[in-house]
Amino acid sequence: MLFCIFLHAYIGEALANAFDAAFGTDSEYGPIDPKDSPKPLDGPWRHGSLKGFAALRGDPKQTKKLYPACGLTSDSQADCLARAVPVAALFSGTRRDPAAAAAGSQDQPGSSSSMGSRALSDAVAAVTRVTQNTDVAVAFAQAFGALLGEVVARGSAPLQALAAAEKALLALDTRGENGEDGDSEDAADARESARQALATARTLASQEQGSGSGGAGNDQKGPSEPFLRTVLSYAAVPSLSEVTPKPIA
């Protein structure tokens, strides 16, 4: 267990150094641009979490923040979704988990085998915390990583992949029951929010298909206006019973 903690810290710091080299204040991106600087910037652009990270690592007046303290503790923006993409590609390189292969079992679409899901989730969490050290960012990145992993590794259909990603998130909550360290309540709450968001997306898509608008089964290209309006009206994750169109103010 202790070894795993050190390994994650080592890998996390190595990642932070790579981010430093690519996006830090000594990189081609240069010093952090002031908030009121004229737009568009004359040169490369960093998004919010990268700017915060670069500021934490590159401030000469402060001790360099090591992983995971280099990640912003107030940043839950969607930038974390991009972090999950290469990790999902890496962990989906094999179509089956080694343990499942050794046991002779088959990974089926939507099966969400626990070992592969857990390894992927751990890696996504480590990568996310380099710049966004919040439970919400980690949970949503894990949800997205699980979703992508399902499609790439098992060829799951979209709705099937969403359901499998929900299961993968729920499976992460059992850690404490097996004698392993359980997550904090905040982390569990964040995962539940992410799971509800997946369920909401699944419900909205099903409703859209059921209504005959948009979707792949219709000649109309792309989603319908009401669908987009509904999706965009979300300021918070509602319960499934609240998935109803809301007008945009």
Binding site: A78, L81, G93, A197, G215, A216, D219
Partner: protein
Amino acid sequence: MPHAFVLPVALFALQDAQGVGSGSGAAGAASSSSSSLSYEEGVRAAIRGGGCCASRAIAAGACLAALHGGEAGSEGDNAHGVPTAWVGRVRDGQQLLDVAVKLACLR
């Protein structure tokens, strides 16, 4: 966050219809129906939503590329994939695609 998350994921889920999805993955281009959203259409729809559109478009693009196959699309080829012209306009775009393939082959 949920606002930014639900749109690309729901857009992706909309593709769940006959001929798209199951058993497709990276080889899914051949089974994508003509009326399903292409990579380009999905990314454009995610951007048009406004707000935190950069990360949302990345998420929509990743899902659709995983579904349809990530190969650069062109007429007569994988029309649902990543448009060749877009790859050409990204600095080191081809190199990034090559890295992605190498990454997936590491394990």
